[in-house]
């Protein structure tokens, strides 16, 4: 009833216009990146005149692409796995038990999300340099874990709250050990939550720039850091080759996004507010 009327209102036209403008800008940006990466001498006009794969050859000589992909995925997957190992048990306790200081502890866990990455990232990067972890893949994994774990706790808690305690109590009465309860009951029942948290974190950590940039170098660069460095030193190489690297990054990130959208909805990409 309300919907039918709202279709005729001027607010609806404004809404459609804004969405169209936004989508046009996003598509425009992505399409120019793709077209520019295969073009030669595209200085004016609607479309490039010559199509070439030259810049992809250039970029594969300029960068060790397999190494960049390897680091990007190793970091993302390691962060997801280690993140789950830390976040899942904590989310379980936070979802199931009441104890003194729970509120404070929860805010402490979520604090890294509202403190700017630079504020803790810079000292963390200094510590990584001090302990000689910077420039290694392990250093990149460690710094990226900081925003991932709070995010996972936020995603996992509601999923665990949804699972009733009956099965757990029954298993406990029948003498099951805690590890058995986790393995046979909790993890299978909260699998959707684990999947959601894992996928969302994977997508997030591929595009994580700020923290990675502070510690990564040489062999521990992820693809987004390499892209920034290329774009920053734009004069040093043809702009089309920067776009070629951007397309490679774009393909990876989009593939992960499209796969993830089979399991989660876009609103879950930003965390839920309570």
């Amino acid at each position: 009833m309300i919907d039918v009327r709202s279709k005729l209102r001027p607010g609806n036209a404004l809404f459609v216009l804004m969405i169209v403008v936004y989508v046009a800008i996003v598509l425009g940006i992505l399409l120019t990146v793709v077209l520019n990466s295969v073009s030669k001498g595209w200085y004016s006009g609607l479309l490039p005149k010559t199509i070439t794969t030259e810049w992809y050859q250039y970029v594969s000589q300029d960068h060790d692409i397999p190494q960049l992909l390897y680091v990007t995925f190793v970091v993302a997957i390691a962060d997801v796995l280690v993140g789950l190992l830390i976040a899942f048990p904590a989310s379980y306790t936070l979802a199931r038990t009441e104890f003194r200081g729970k509120g404070i502890l929860l805010s402490l866990f979520l604090l890294p999300m509202i403190v700017p990455p630079m504020a803790y990232g810079l000292p963390l990067a200094m510590l990584c340099y001090k302990f000689r972890l910077a420039g290694k893949i392990i250093g990149t994994i460690i710094v990226n874990l900081v925003p991932i774990v709070p995010f996972m706790i936020l995603v996992l808690m509601p999923f665990i709250e949804q699972v009733g305690t009956n099965l757990e109590s029954a298993a406990k009465m029948l003498g099951a050990k805690r590890s058995t309860i986790f393995r046979k009951i909790l993890i299978p029942l909260t699998a959707p939550g684990i999947l959601t948290a894992g996928i969302l974190s994977l997508v997030k950590s591929i595009s994580m720039f700020d923290l990675t940039y502070l510690v990564a170098g040489g062999k521990s660069q992820t693809i987004v850091v390499a892209l920034y460095s290329d774009a920053y030193a734009a004069g040093a190489r043809p702009p089309q080759s920067v776009d070629a690297l951007a397309v490679i990054y774009f393909l990876i990130s989009m593939t992960c996004l499209l796969v993830s959208l089979r399991f989660v909805s876009p609103t879950q990409m930003v965390f839920k507010v309570k």
Binding site: I2, F15, Y22, I25, V26, G28, I29, T32, V33, I86, P89, A90, T93, R96, T97, F99, L108, F109, L111, I114, V115, P116, M118, A119, Y120, G121, L122, P123, L124, A125, M126, L127, I142, V149, K172, R178, S207, F209, D210, L214, L227, Y228, A231, Y232, A234, P239, V242, D243, F250, S253, M254, C256, S265, P266, T267, M269, V270, F271, K272, V273
Partner: protein, 285 residues
């Protein structure tokens, strides 16, 4: 629950507590310590005094606030009516939310890099503007304030929007019906019923958006003039740490950043508690 299994459950918190102590609180404390010491390790306020006396550094605060505050206000300001409009779903919602999530997923580096060509003097946007005779010469969108603001906004808006959408669709629709039955028009229903209930969501999405906009630096470096008018505070901190190798000075800047951000968040939360009192009304729809 007996005592033994209770302590067993509490033990599950240990990895997360160790994590937050080791990777968050300790670095933060270390940064605070570094900012309060000189290179030789003696206590001093010199790093802060240097920052506030260095005209080039201290104006980064104004520059960054000048980008973050208007962009965040605009992003949240647009997200409120739009998410309200979409609260019961609209045709093509999945496609719309997909396009909104794309820039967030791609991240600021790719968006900024792409904008350089798309919004450059020969880019499609300027071709369109000149074809429509809106301007005779190409409009400058890159290497200035506009470019940085657009890039930050393109990231911030979807974030605010999707967050508020999740929030507003959780408000019990009965409240809206009740308000209409009691004779309130749409406008009154929005201002008197829904908006107050959205305040917590608005406050938190403003905070998170502000934090992102305030600490982001790739947009400012790639699309602005990072040596001059768009030298943002995060970039200043980065330069002190990794170009001048003065970690103490860099730590002081990152502490100033954290302090400004926490002050803004405190301000927003104060506004929220002034605006919003009844937590219990938000029933799940």
């Amino acid at each position: 629950m007996n005592g033994r299994s209770e302590s067993g459950t509490m033990a599950l918190l240990i990895p997360a507590i160790v994590f937050v102590l080791l990777l968050f609180l300790f670095p933060f404390g270390y940064g605070l310590f570094m900012s309060l010491t000189k290179a030789d390790g003696s206590f001093s306020l010199a790093n802060y005094i240097r920052f506030f006396q260095d005209a080039r550094d201290v104006r980064t605060i104004g520059v960054t606030l000048g980008i973050a505050v208007p962009v965040t206000l605009l992003a949240v300001g647009l997200a409120v009516p739009l998410s309200y409009h979409m609260r019961r779903g609209v045709p093509g919602e999945r496609l719309i939310t997909f396009f909104l999530i794309v820039p967030v997923t791609l991240g600021t580096v790719l968006v900024s890099e792409g904008m350089l060509t798309f919004m450059g003097p020969n880019g499609w946007l300027n071709q369109l503007i000149m074809a429509l005779c809106l301007s005779k010469t190409p409009v400058r969108f890159t290497h200035n304030y506009t470019g940085v603001a657009i890039s930050v906004g393109l990231q911030g808006f979807p974030y605010a929007f999707l967050m508020l959408l999740g929030y507003v669709s959780g408000i019990n629709p009965d409240l809206e019906k009740a308000s209409q039955m009691l004779g309130a028009n749409k406008w009154q229903t929005f201002w008197k019923v829904l908006f107050p209930l959205m305040v917590p969501g608005i406050a938190i999405s403003f905070c998170l958006n502000f934090v992102m906009a305030f600490s982001v630096f790739p947009s400012a470096v790639l699309l602005g003039q990072p040596s001059g008018p768009q030298r943002v505070i995060a970039y200043a901190a980065y330069q002190w740490a990794f170009e001048k190798f003065n970690f103490n000075a860099a730590a002081a800047i990152s502490m100033v950043m954290a302090a400004i951000e926490l002050a803004v968040i405190a301000l927003i939360l104060a506004w929220r508690s002034k605006m919003y009192k009844g937590a219990s009304i938000v029933g799940k729809g």
